[in-house]
């Protein structure tokens, strides 16, 4: 039924246009998926609701992929869900393998999106009930797990990983407190009262930080030249074998996390990276261009975006900023999301689900066709590319909210990103903490308000107990290992030599 609605020539045209505009918008930093959808929402008002939402779904899929492109090519994430893609995707690009990185991201996203749509069709109503069982304690426990496993992102130095993460949480405290209304750590500066925006921070830490590190060398971070035919930029059989389980795991994980209101694609992508590094036979390759580190998270964030449609359609709870704007669109068309939507407007719901699927197909086709073109951008010599990336970072930071403050903030974090990179800290951990901080704090305080036993509430509810114990173990195990190693070293040093 859904496909008969979605597969009209006009709707297909809208899906194609949505994907293309989406990729362009997603590749421009500063104009992330939420602003992209918001920019085009008014355009769709003249259309049938079904055509409109198809265009928006296609646009959303396109913007997610556009963010991946800049992450891989110039280490600048377009939105928070593609931050992890920088870790291995950009390393792959430096090794002349930008094509396979972009290819596996597109294929992984397609598979994840396809399975996600099937799951959405089959289990929406049942899952909606499950996601309701996820209260503030469970949400907090999940975020805690995401934050404490962050050291796995960082390589060797767990201590510096935790310092980066806590620093991110501290930065997340800046600005209006949602419960009391206090403007924390704002020092009377209006821009600070709004809090630290993720995007200028991420553009600075990753994009500008990387450029500064490359600027030291006369030739920059030389990107290996490769061949750029369609076959050369596609993932090889080996890549595919290494990625297939990462894609499957990423899909399942992503969809489950996507169902939870508020968690969304970002958490899904970080958790997937952690899982892949744990599951891998060669974890030492992560951070140095492991293709699983791109395949897993990219599948996860796409599956999560699909999963987020479940609470939106069945309960009217948006799972992310973008779905919130789409929800606004639904309401403007006079549609009321909620359990009744499936019964009252079936053609619309199934049209939307089918359009998600069509958007995924379109994305795969168009992105594959364009990958050689994107990869060619890397052939520009670094002496030209470097100033261009800086211009790109500055315009991106500015156009987010049209103010120079954000540009200054981006610059400061660029210097910090350079120092962090050189000194072995983890910009990714900082960014994750900054994104999750406000949500985690709200969930923590709501939990403590409803709790009669203080922190005990996290251990008394089954789901949150499992997640909390896992989160604590993630901290305790490396610490115990470090203490043991230190005592063994001391023991060895105190023994007389020979």
């Amino acid at each position: 039924m859904g496909f008969s609605v979605a597969l009209t020539p006009f709707n297909l045209l809208m899906a194609t246009a949505g994907v293309i505009v989406g990729i362009l918008i997603g590749a421009l930093p500063g104009i992330g998926p939420p602003s992209g959808v918001a920019l085009l929402l008014p355009l769709t008002f003249g259309m049938e609701p079904t055509s409109g939402i198809i265009m928006l779904a296609a646009l959303y899929a396109g913007t997610m992929y556009g963010g991946t492109i800049t992450s891989v090519l110039i280490n600048t994430p377009g939105e928070s869900a593609s931050v992890v893609t920088c870790l291995d995707g950009h390393q792959m690009a430096l090794q002349g393998r930008a094509g396979p990185a972009l290819g596996i991201a597109a294929i992984g996203s397609f598979i994840a999106g396809t399975i996600g749509v099937v799951l959405l069709m089959l289990v929406s109503p049942a899952l909606a009930r499950w996601s309701l069982a996820f209260g503030p304690p469970e949400t907090f426990a999940l975020m805690l797990l995401g934050l404490t496993t962050v050291t796995l992102l960082t390589g060797d130095d767990a201590l510096k990983g935790y310092i980066s993460m806590v620093l991110g949480l501290m930065l997340a405290m800046v600005g209006f407190d949602i419960i009391s209304g206090d403007a924390r750590y704002a020092f009377g500066i209006p821009e600070m009262m709004d809090g630290m925006d993720f995007l200028p921070v991420a553009i600075g830490l990753f994009g500008l930080g990387e450029v500064l590190a490359g600027a030291e060398m006369a030739k920059g971070n030389a990107i290996l030249q490769g061949r750029y035919g369609l076959r050369d930029v596609m993932p090889s059989a080996t890549d595919w074998m290494r990625s297939r389980w990462a894609i499957v795991r990423g899909t399942v994980l992503g969809f489950s996390v996507g169902l939870l209101p508020g968690a969304g694609p970002t958490v899904a992508s970080f958790l997937s990276y952690t899982v892949e590094k744990k599951a891998s036979k060669h974890p030492q390759e992560f951070g140095k261009g492991a293709i699983e580190g791109v395949a897993g998270p990219e599948s996860a964030n796409n599956a999560a975006a699909t999963g987020a449609m479940v609470p939106m359609l069945t309960l009217g709870i948006p799972g992310s900023a973008t779905t919130a704007i789409m929800l606004g669109g639904l309401m403007m068309w006079g549609l009321r999301p909620g359990p009744m939507l499936f019964e009252k407007n079936p053609e619309f719901v199934w049209g939307l689900i089918a359009s998600q699927y069509i958007a995924n197909v379109m994305l795969l086709v168009l992105s594959t066709a364009f990958i050689p073109l994107f990869v060619r951008a890397l052939r520009v010599p670094y002496t030209i590319l470097m100033p261009l990336i800086i211009v790109f970072c500055i315009t991106g930071a500015y156009s987010l909210k049209n103010n120079i403050w954000d540009v200054g903030q981006m610059l400061v974090f660029g210097v910090l990103g350079y120092a962090m990179k050189k000194l072995g800290y983890s910009p990714a951990a900082l960014v994750l903490a900054l994104v999750l901080g406000p949500m985690a704090e709200r969930a923590l305080r709501q939990s403590l308000i409803i709790s009669d036993v203080g922190m005990g509430i996290f251990f008394l509810r089954p789901i949150s107990a499992v997640l909390t114990v896992a989160a604590l173990a993630a901290v305790a195990v490396p610490v115990a290992r470090a203490v043991l190693a230190a005592s063994r070293r001391r023991g060895a040093a105190s023994r007389p030599a020979g």
């Binding site: 009391s180 206090d182 924390r184 030209i384 470097m386 261009l388 120079i404």
Partner: protein, 151 residues
């Protein structure tokens, strides 16, 4: 690296203490019915202080000076140049405007840093500024700062 760790450890410790003190002084630790706005900042400050002490003690006890993390000579000159020109661009953005500023920034960086030939420099600068104008100002209607010339 060891010196950098010592400085970072001390700075983070000072920051953590100030963060805690600021939370307790200006915001409420515990409000009616639950934790207040100082609750999480205070504990984050405590955790950061512990981590900073850990880093500091490790760096003070370490005998290995580690590799230098800042470049020297030509590398340092390039780093300062790129950073300086970028900072100047950001500081002057309000007066030179985004489009004109972009062109000037590219010309300065491409000429001074790497001595790219003039024709190449000028065409890249003009093309980028033009594209910037088309996409952001014309299509997306981003209100960029403008120079006295109106662009």
């Amino acid at each position: 690296m060891r010196t950098a760790d010592r400085i970072a450890g001390a700075a983070l410790l000072a920051f953590a203490v100030a963060f805690c003190a600021g939370a307790l002084k200006n915001y409420t630790y515990s409000g009616p019915g639950g934790p207040g706005s100082a609750f999480l900042p205070f504990w984050l400050g405590v955790i950061m202080a512990v981590l900073a002490v850990w880093l500091l003690v490790g760096a003070l006890r370490s005998r290995d000076p580690g590799a230098a993390w800042l470049p020297r000579g030509e590398g340092l000159r390039r780093l300062i140049l790129v950073l300086g020109v970028t900072a100047a661009f950001v500081a002057l953005l309000k007066f030179v405007g985004m489009i004109l500023g972009t062109a000037l920034f590219l010309i300065v960086l491409m000429r001074v840093l790497d001595r790219n030939p003039w024709p190449l420099t000028l065409s890249v600068a003009a093309a980028t500024a033009g594209l910037n104008y088309l996409v952001f100002t014309y299509w997306l209607r981003v209100p960029f700062p403008v120079s006295v010339f109106g662009f």
